[in-house]
């Protein structure tokens, strides 16, 4: 069985995604949003078009308005969106939010929310981080049972697409102590609920992030998504799938950066010759090519596994995130250095990829987190 060879349908999807994005949301579109301080930094019009194309429902069953086209399909979109630095709620609302709801939500919750996510009216954002380093099991944020309700208290930071969200999926501790997987619960919280206060964070990559304070926010039992104390059972696979999808986006960025750099090496002259003829640069570019080939295999294997191909998803997710983190660092730094002076100017797009990479590296675990996890999963 060929899990790693895309089907004709997937190739068509990726081609049309590329065409749409290159035509409608090229890097210059992102630059425009950034320079004009559009807040939150995405184009509602493009997002609407994207939802109309069905990308927001790729992994969702048809009963919720989705295409049921699997993770390989969504991964293809993510790769292309990485190439043009598309800023949209796709990752937060679909890859994280809708995915979690699909795994953990009740029928009612799914029927109520998912179709609205697919058409783009609702944006979800996962409020999970509490400190500067990804560590979901360390959650301290409390949800105190109070009659049939829960009272939420605490601060969530680095909430991806927090400003454009209508709902937060909030990870809270309902029992146990930091470090325990048992005792985590997830609540769906309307951003307009009393006591919710969000603050926009302006990061390096000029996208949409929030820090959100929850001050005695009261939610009902109906707002619990997945069983109480047992959210980790759904949350961990959700995070792993999202890590692989984010790795796909990072792969797109890496490939775009690399191709632009190789192009530059072919064209640019110095000392009377093309700089691509300098052997030291040739070898570095060739090495980078090899590393990127491995990235492709890792991402594609992870996506295929999410669609049912064999392999441990946890291991593949940590492998993908760690490798893509590391090669994103290498590829963007090499791109700047090989471009020389122009590479450090804001005028060139390479700097945008450089900055996006540093933020993506921190989303859902840096390499030290995933190497540690990979070691534990392998028994050392």
């Amino acid at each position: 069985m060929k899990h790693l060879v895309p089907s004709d349908e997937h190739i068509m999807l990726q081609d049309s995604a590329r065409q749409f994005l290159q035509a409608n949301c090229p890097v210059s579109a992102f630059r425009h949003l950034r320079d004009n301080s559009v807040s939150p930094c995405y184009s509602r019009q493009h997002w609407k078009q994207i939802c109309d194309l069905g990308w927001s429902g790729i992994i969702l069953p048809e009963e919720y308005g989705g295409l049921d086209f699997g993770y390989v399909g969504l991964g293809a979109i993510m790769k292309e969106s990485g190439r043009t630095l598309l800023a949209s709620p796709l990752f937060a609302s679909v890859c994280l939010g809708a995915q979690y709801l699909l795994r953990a939500g009740s029928d009612t919750q799914k029927r109520d929310i998912l179709p609205s996510v697919v058409c783009g009216d609702t944006c979800l954002a996962l409020a999970i981080e509490e400190g500067p380093h990804h560590d979901p099991l360390a959650t301290l944020f409390t949800a105190q049972p109070d009659g049939g309700n829960f009272v939420l208290n605490g601060t969530k930071t680095f909430v991806v697409d927090g400003q454009c969200a209508n709902y937060f999926l909030v990870v809270a501790r309902t029992s146990g102590k930091p470090g325990d997987a048992k005792g985590l619960s997830v609540f769906l919280v309307d951003i307009d609920r009393k006591g919710v206060e969000r603050k926009q964070l302006h990061l390096l990559d000029a996208r949409d992030y929030s820090s959100v304070d929850f001050d005695n926010v009261i939610v009902g039992e109906d707002d619990l998504v997945g069983s109480m104390n047992d959210a980790w059972r759904y949350l961990e696979p959700t995070l792993d799938a999202a890590r692989i999808l984010l790795a796909a986006e990072m792969l797109g960025g890496i490939c775009e950066c690399f191709e632009r750099t190789v192009e530059y090496l072919r064209d640019r002259e110095q000392f009377g010759v093309k700089i691509g003829s300098f052997q030291a640069l040739r070898h570095r570019a060739a090495h980078l090519f090899a590393e990127i080939e491995l990235c492709k295999a890792v991402v594609d294997t992870g996506l295929a596994a999410l669609d049912g191909a064999p392999g441990s998803i946890s291991v593949l997710a940590s492998l993908a995130k760690a490798r893509l983190n590391d090669i994103a660092l290498l590829a963007t730094n090499e791109a700047v250095q090989m471009h020389g002076g122009i590479g450090v100017t804001d005028e060139l797009d390479i700097g945008l990829f450089l900055k996006r990479a540093r933020v993506a590296i921190q989303i859902l675990g840096d390499s030290s987190y995933h190497r540690d996890r990979f070691g534990r999963l392998n028994g050392y």
Partner: protein
Amino acid sequence: MEPLDAFRREVVAWLEDNCPRSQREPAGPEELYQGGSKGCFSSQDARTWFERMREKGWTVPDWPREYGGGGLSPGQAKVLKTEMKRLGCRPPLATGQGIAMLGPALFEYGSEQQKREHLPRIARGEVRWCQGYSEPGAGSDLANIQCRAEDKGDHFVVNGTKLWTSNADRADWIFCLVRTDPKAAKQAGISFLLIDMRQNGIEVRPIELISGESDFCQVFFENARAEKHNLLGDLNRGWTVAKRLLQHERTLMSQLSEIAVGPKFSPGEVARRYLSLENGVLTNSGLREQLVRYEMDAMALALSNQKAFEESGQGRLDPNSTSFFKYYATELDKRRGELKLALMGTQGLGWSGPGFDSDELMEPRTWAFSKALTIAGGSSEVQLNVIAKRVLDLPE
């Protein structure tokens, strides 16, 4: 899917019936049957196992039956390989230069007569081959061929010397790049010649490596004779055959860690044996970091190999990929060698004698030998040059 599943069941049943218990243990470096007139079996079981597999043509499962092969499709061949690996069956006949290198070249460039003459003898392990490419002073500059073959009507007379010829001292025949037109520019004027080594004009001298082994030899030709019909490909067009063979060699070398009979324990097992754990985590965090980085890269390479296999559709790599796999795999082999020495500490330093078990003694030699892998078969630098030129299309 269906037909392969049936085949798989059949294969497993046959292997379980026919592979002797002793041939399902990991083999030491000297235990594999290499074939040829000097090859010998490490045990009666090894002979039995080889003979049974030879009868089925499964020494070369994907070669056509008329040339001594098993006639399996790439998919079937992969099933056989996978199941043999799963059951721990040793290769009945080691994958030498005949199976991996000359065989594919004969299929592509050989006349029917050449195929009938040479392929079955490879498949049946009767003739062991070696490869005469490099020459002293040439190094990576492979097209710099000085060894010359003079046309004497029905045969050539060969004079010159070849270096880094693996296992020439145990081979029966050598396939050789020779200069047949001394006036032509480098690549032109080279021919690809098959030479019987069992003659007086050929002398073989082994070279001792830092690993203590002498797998490589220098071969001296002094008026050696080669029949005209043993020219593979056209006269003065041997470079075409050679280039193609280099790709096979790269592919072979990129899969060394998979097919080689190296040390028994993986880096992870070595780590657990020589370092302490606390709650299932190695306490030496520096070495643990190095281990995880290696294991991740090795896994990524394996996935990349799998992807290339699936994409190729026929079990054969895109020619442009071979350089990248050869480069990455052999560099990784070197890293694994250094990693295992680091994990084993002073127990990884034994060269001989008491104080070390046989597995431990194998590690430093494998480590030392790994240094040759990024040099032989086109150095890492050569592979990077090829990627830059052919894949990335960078100007020269």
